[in-house]
């Protein structure tokens, strides 16, 4: 293919992509917003709990653990076995836009034999975040969090729930496991 032919083809390609990008966007229906609003469901914890989840098992366990934590804190005195009891009112109104003080926090756990460690906490809405592993078997991850009190734990190789031994406190989740607590 000659140079001018290549140039022509390049121009054609550019024009072709431009034609897609610059194609006029048709007007959106007048009732678009209303349609969206009609389809909204209130963010109900109970509804989420009842809705079949496509998430991995540990995420489902995380949801159960969250419910357990809330109940555990509410009925704290009955379940208190020496661990520090967290008042419900001291829990952060999670994930609100706020001008609260922010903290950069490094979470780490040493597990040389593990292939993968994830952290799950109420600051991740109990979604799993994979930690980075270094050469000496330390798994670490950093998050920036607003001031408050958070519950979390580590999931090792997708099967073992491990509390953070360097945490500020611990709280039973009501289902036989212990969550770690951090105060910021």
């Amino acid at each position: 293919m000659g140079k001018s032919e290549k140039e022509k083809l390049r121009t054609l390609l550019q024009e072709a992509l431009d034609s897609l990008r610059d194609r006029p966007v048709p007007p959106l229906g007048q009732d678009f917003t209303q349609q969206v609003m009609n389809r909204l469901s209130p963010p109900s914890l109970w509804r989420r709990f009842l809705t079949p989840s496509r998430r991995p098992l540990q995420w489902a366990l995380g949801t159960v653990a969250t419910a357990g934590l809330v109940l555990g804190l509410y009925f704290g005195p009955r379940w208190n076995r020496g661990e520090r009891v967290i008042e419900t009112s001291s829990l952060p109104p999670s994930h609100q836009i706020t001008d609260r003080k922010m903290y950069q926090v490094r979470f780490s756990i040493k597990r040389p034999e593990a292939a993968e460690v994830k952290i799950l906490g109420d600051f991740t809405q109990w979604n799993a975040m994979v930690l980075s592993k270094d050469g000496s078997g330390n798994f670490t991850g950093e998050l920036t969090l607003p001031e408050g009190t958070y519950a979390y734990g580590f999931m090792v190789d997708g099967k073992e729930w491990v509390a953070d031994q360097t945490a500020h406190g611990f709280v039973p989740d009501g289902f036989g496991r212990v969550n770690s607590i951090i105060h910021l």
């Binding site: 293919m1 032919e5 290549k6 083809l9 390049r10 054609l12 390609l13 024009e15 072709a16 992509l17 034609s19 897609l20 990008r21 194609r23 006029p24 966007v25 048709p26 959106l28 229906g29 678009f32 917003t33 349609q35 969206v36 609003m37 389809r39 909204l40 469901s41 209130p42 963010p43 999670s94 994930h95 609100q96 836009i97 706020t98 001008d99 609260r100 003080k101 922010m102 903290y103 950069q104 926090v105 490094r106 979470f107 780490s108 809405q125 950093e142 920036t144 607003p146 953070d164 360097t166 945490a167 500020h168 770690s180 951090i182 910021l184």
Partner: protein
């Protein structure tokens, strides 16, 4: 657990992005009404979300329309984006712009589109006609040629392997920078440049070229 450093409320402003960039250039600061609407939605209220939908709907719909080329499909996808945004609004921390956060949901929905039934159905249907033109309009012939070109380009794009198609579309239809693409796709800039280049070469060949570019 280690506290590294306390800091005041961080404002990690997302870098300017293509279609998002246009939007953010026009909205350089967080609007107080927007912050308040988000805060109320995070408390479980529904009504303030309508204002967010009103504000962002044309932008979201435009992104979807460029991606799929069909009005009905794009509109449904845009609605799903807002439904997802509302269900996840609790996870929005205000560290980035709301439009940046919303774009992430848009992009995930665009990616899902390739695997969806609507995409495979759309492959056998004609593309959306934007508007009717009078048959004797002086621009009618040009319009027809333009539509045919669009159709052939979109068909060629859709036939590319997904990794190249995605890279080319993010770069040229959503007009992201390579840095923004790297952030979305969690890939290096150099490998993304290779994907775009390879995608363009494949596209060129499909549109009639013979050379390797």
């Amino acid at each position: 657990v280690t506290l590294l450093k306390p800091q005041r409320l961080i404002k990690v402003e997302a870098s300017v992005r293509g279609q998002g960039a246009d939007f953010e250039k026009k909205n350089p600061e967080k609007e107080p009404w927007e912050v308040e609407a988000i805060r109320l939605c995070q408390r479980g209220e529904k009504e303030p979300f309508a204002r967010l939908v009103d504000h962002y709907k044309n932008w979201v719909f435009g992104l979807m329309f460029r991606w799929v080329g069909k009005k009905e499909v794009a509109e449904e996808m845009a609605q799903e984006v807002f439904l997802k945004a509302y269900s996840r609004i609790g996870s929005f921390r205000g560290e980035a712009k709301f439009s940046t956060w919303l774009y992430q949901i848009c992009f995930n929905r665009c990616r899902d589109y390739w695997r969806s039934r609507e995409f495979h159905q759309a492959a056998y249907e004609p593309l959306e006609q934007v508007e009717e033109k009078p048959a004797l309009s002086p621009h009618a012939e040009q319009e027809v040629m333009s539509r045919q070109q669009e159709r052939s380009v979109r068909r060629a794009l859709e036939s590319l392997p997904e990794i190249y198609r995605e890279a080319v579309m993010l770069r040229y239809l959503h007009e992201l920078s390579y840095e923004e693409m790297a952030e979305q796709l969690d890939l290096g800039v150099s490998s993304l440049k290779m994907r775009v280049l390879r995608g363009l070469n494949l596209l060129k060949n499909k549109l009639g070229g013979q050379g390797d570019g």
